[in-house]
Amino acid sequence: MPDQTWTPGACSIVGIGETDFSKASGRTPLTLAAQAARAALADAGIAPRAVDGVVRCDMDLVSAPALADSLGADDLTYWGEAGPGGSGPAAMVGQAVAAINSGLATTVVVFRSLNGRSGNRYGLVGEHGAVGGDNNYEEFFLPFGMQTPGQFFAVVARRYAHEHGLSIDELSHGLGSIAMAGRAHANNNPAAQFHQRTMSREDYLASRMLSSPLRLFDYCLETDGAAAVVVTSTQRARDLAGVHVPVLSVAQGTGRGVQPGQMFPALLRKSITTWPSAATAPTVFGRAGVTAGDVDVAQIYDCFTITALIQLEDYGFMAPGRAAYVTPEDLSVGGRLPFNTSGGHLSEGYIHGMNHVVEGVRQVRGTSTNQVDGAEISFVSSAPPPGASAMILGVDR
């Protein structure tokens, strides 16, 4: 539903920054966050001490004041966070916009930093004590063998195939197309972890089954690294040296009956093949005043191939049940929806959705290594299951 108080493009992303992406950074998350934030501020032409707002992901180990301290900020007048986890990045930019529009801050750094491979790896069951309690509801899942995000998404994927009358081979075709499209883009992106590794459909199908019907190449890359953007008012952005990219819209959504807890409880929603992204879609497009058909390029959260496939339908880029018939060409530059043009989580690196925001900005600036000619409407999603957020970037007119 269009929100009467939302002003498209009131704020802009004026700087982007990333660290290298690796399996072992050898640095703390605070160091990574400071590197990415300083790179983004340098890109914006803004002195680090001028930062007065910081927004973090609720799973980050780095606090907002800690990053502000590292940046030598004079004073932090606003900090906030969003999540859970990967549902955060677009929402985090939304918090920056809200803070700026309401006068709580002028210059906001939004960041995600993690040693996702060498540090705390996700999806590992605790080795100590009983699980569950205090409304995290893990007692209904972990003791029964449902223990990782991959197993969760595997159950979703099989149900998706069932509801749409697809064989597992047909499902795997669609999942493989998504993996291949991201990989081909990574092969053109020197910053991507899989820059040098090509992948054919045969390579995809030959990859090890981890939790059927999901294979190794349906899973994202656990990554060490950080990404950050700087947000300020578009009015102020016009006086900066760099190219600013207006935030046409940002939206969060849960839909009804989202379930408590973080991930596994989503298996108990009325539908497990349509997600909070479906509830977010009309808000994010309505606020920007555009439709899915207007989108020139999309960065879709892809912790797993099935995660991206379902969102292609939830956001209206493809009809329900049709995303499984997508081809790598459909998702390539020059195809019907150029997708994850940095390689995404599957092939660039897993910075929990923040690298998707950075790549969405690059596309409007015309600086992607897989540039879509004349891209003006750039879509970015941040993942379900716990909730969803999304944003649409555009050009200043």
Binding site: G132, F140, F141, F144, R159, L267, L268
Partner: protein, 143 residues
């Protein structure tokens, strides 16, 4: 079960919102939270009913039967107490407002979505876990 060495992953069984599920399992029953005011099933269990807003702590016993909603065969080892391959099933419980429960089957089970499932009760240390398996009877063919 042959997982003698590694400690199994066990649930908290005394949580105020969920403990009765495991207490019922120890009696050989499947119980779900039901709203005392509007009679809606409230799963995952909590006191505040999303349908009508009432607070209550009532449980009801439901049939140990259901239909397979989805499943996966886990091939990649994660926790040492759950050796692969094993199958995780998601079962929609009969006679409920779409209550689904998770169970584990050793090995690579041959399954089909929609097929009939029944609960059985696994004793692990001093905890009882309701598990689910296919019903091996003639009615299987009618699923």
């Amino acid at each position: 079960m042959t997982d003698a060495q590694p400690s199994p992953v066990l649930p908290v069984v005394d949580d105020v919102d969920t403990g009765e599920f495991f207490a019922a399992a120890a009696r050989g029953e499947i119980a779900v939270r039901v709203c005392s005011a509007c009679r809606a099933d409230v799963h995952l269990p909590r006191e505040n009913c999303p349908q009508c807003g009432a607070f209550s702590r009532e449980w009801r016993v439901v049939p140990p039967l259901g239909a397979l909603y989805s499943w996966t065969v886990v091939e990649h080892q994660v926790h040492p107490a759950t050796p692969v391959p094993y199958t995780v099933v998601l079962v929609e419980v009969d006679g409920t407002d779409g209550v689904r429960l998770v169970g584990r089957i050793d090995g690579r089970a041959e399954l089909e979505i929609g097929q009939r499932m029944e609960a059985w009760f696994e004793q692990v240390d001093d905890v009882t876990l309701p598990q689910w398996r296919p019903i091996r009877t003639d009615e299987e063919s009618t699923a």
